[in-house]
């Protein structure tokens, strides 16, 4: 399996753990990711506030690099980039004038048929989902994790077409395949305040604190994320939460690929687990403790809420 790869700015900087762990996990699973040459920023949280054409042209300039590589599917791990690329494609398809302006701005054809994929979608489907259990070297069934999807993987659903918008299960399914226990909770898709990380941090501290509080309430040992901005807000703002609310949350926040990699027997150093601001040693200790056989299969079944209806 071979895909083009668009890491985005964060994965080469504050989210380098995501980049490294994703590439390591993909290698184990037999997925080849070829980084787009000369990619540029997608415009992220800023461009859409200033100009619709610019916010569409930057993602399309990146997708226009694909035909030369002979690939028509691109893996985009950052939820912000994923959303911006998908929205740009959608806007080009539905707005002819915008498409003309974009083509003129990037001086290349609009590649609005390229398939933009989040790695979770490939992992959760055949053949990879069945390969996962065989690769597991470390039994992590003692770990209880909540999966945080954030905003932009699922919203707006008619554009991202990723799982069920209000209660997605894709990340839960992938982590359960490694043996990790994932819990049901209310804040799967509630915003952490990402775009205000630097311009209005008080909003971020408030919103992210609510997410962590809920994770604690359901008894999670860690939060798994799939977005570098969600990770930055939930991980780096815990000191500020202590100042604001009096208690340090001490909640480890990991990329789902780090948890996968850890279950595949990779070391914390390989997975850059030490890069997080919030200490993850409690989690590693728990992961290495002998697993008590307490939960029977029936009980586990009862805790995993099955959402089979369509919205």
């Amino acid at each position: 399996m071979k895909y083009a790869y668009y890491p985005g700015c964060s994965l080469h900087s504050t989210g380098q753990e995501f980049d490294k762990s994703l590439l390591a996990v993909c290698e184990k699973l037999g997925v080849e990711l070829v980084e787009l040459e000369k990619w540029v920023c997608c415009g992220s949280t800023a461009a859409h506030n200033l100009s619709k054409v610019a916010a569409t042209a930057l993602p399309m300039a990146n997708l226009a690099l694909m035909p030369k590589m002979g690939l028509d599917e691109v893996v985009v791990p950052c939820a912000e980039c994923f959303s911006k690329l998908k929205i740009a494609q959608h806007n080009c398809k539905t707005d002819k004038k915008l498409k003309r302006d974009v083509v003129e701005a990037i001086h290349k054809d609009c590649n609005d048929d390229a398939k933009v994929i989040h790695p979770l979608s490939i992992f959760a489907e055949e053949p990879l989902i069945s390969r996962i259990p065989a690769l597991v070297e470390k039994n992590l069934s003692g770990l209880k994790v909540v999966c945080y999807y954030g905003c932009l993987l699922t919203r707006p659903p008619k554009i991202t077409q990723f799982d069920i918008a209000e209660y997605p299960e894709t990340m839960d399914n992938v982590l359960r395949a490694t043996g990790i226990t994932t819990l049901d909770w209310d804040h799967k898709t509630i915003c952490c305040g990402a775009s205000f990380a630097l311009s209005k941090p008080d909003i971020v501290v408030n919103l992210s604190h609510k997410i962590i509080e809920d994770a604690k309430e359901v008894g999670a040992d860690a939060i798994a994320v799939a977005c570098p901005m969600c990770h930055a807000n939930l991980d780096t703002r815990q000191d500020d939460m202590e100042k604001e609310y009096g208690v340090h949350p001490q909640m480890p926040v990991l990329y789902f690929t780090q948890l996968m990699g850890y279950s595949f027997g990779m070391t914390p150093e390989e997975l850059l687990l030490d890069k997080h601001l919030t200490d993850v040693s409690s989690l590693i200790e728990k992961a290495n403790a002998p697993v008590e056989e307490e939960a029977s299969p029936e009980e586990e079944e009862a805790t995993s809420f099955q959402f089979d209806g369509h919205h």
Partner: protein, 187 residues
């Protein structure tokens, strides 16, 4: 909200027409059910709820809209647009108002949010990919909030979360694209 008599005539629709022309969203479908306001994670900070802001656009109350904090507080989480029963893309409307304000040269109620967006794009023109440290430095210089987040920043530096030096990859490409976009918008 203000309590005054609103006179509606033909001119009242020029504002909502501008929103359609620039953002492509027709706000007239909104019947003020309030679902967007209920789901909005930042509504607690807003002076007008998203519902009220859309209503003000429908009524052509441009000054009320431009003087509101609401669109500058939007986190772009897309919850409102996802849940709207009338399929109004509210988040896109808020973006459109911000773009219209800049065309009309109106000052935002939350200048730091606009400064962040501008520094971000300015950074891309140089580096093509976001050089985070550079952007933070420029943002600090323009907002003068030097001590804010200092502790966190130092911790992140110590952990080598940021790349210290910028890489010039694609700055030229981004600059060319943005220059062409600007030219189109002026035309």
């Amino acid at each position: 909200m203000t309590e005054e008599i609103v006179h509606i005539d033909e001119k009242s629709f020029t504002f909502s027409d501008a929103v359609v022309a620039v953002g492509g969203i027709d706000t007239s479908y909104c019947y003020q059910c309030g679902k967007c306001a209920t789901g909005c994670p930042v509504a607690y900070e807003m002076d007008l709820t998203p519902t009220q802001l859309i209503h003000a656009i429908q009524l052509g109350l441009k000054d009320l809209v431009y003087n509101s904090k609401t669109m500058w507080l939007c986190a772009a989480c897309q919850t409102c647009s996802t849940r709207c029963p009338q399929d109004v893309d509210i988040a896109e409307v808020l973006d459109t108002v911000k773009i219209l304000m800049q065309r009309d040269k109106k000052k935002p109620q939350l200048p730091n949010v606009l400064k962040f967006n501008k520094r971000f794009m300015g950074n891309l023109k140089w580096f093509g990919r976001l050089y985070e440290l550079g952007m933070i430095a420029m943002l600090k210089l323009s907002t003068r909030k030097f001590t804010q987040d200092m502790g966190m920043g130092m911790k992140m530096l110590k952990k080598r979360k940021f790349s210290i030096w910028p890489r010039f990859k694609g700055g030229w490409a981004v600059r060319k694209i943005l220059r062409r976009v600007k030219k189109q918008e002026k035309a």
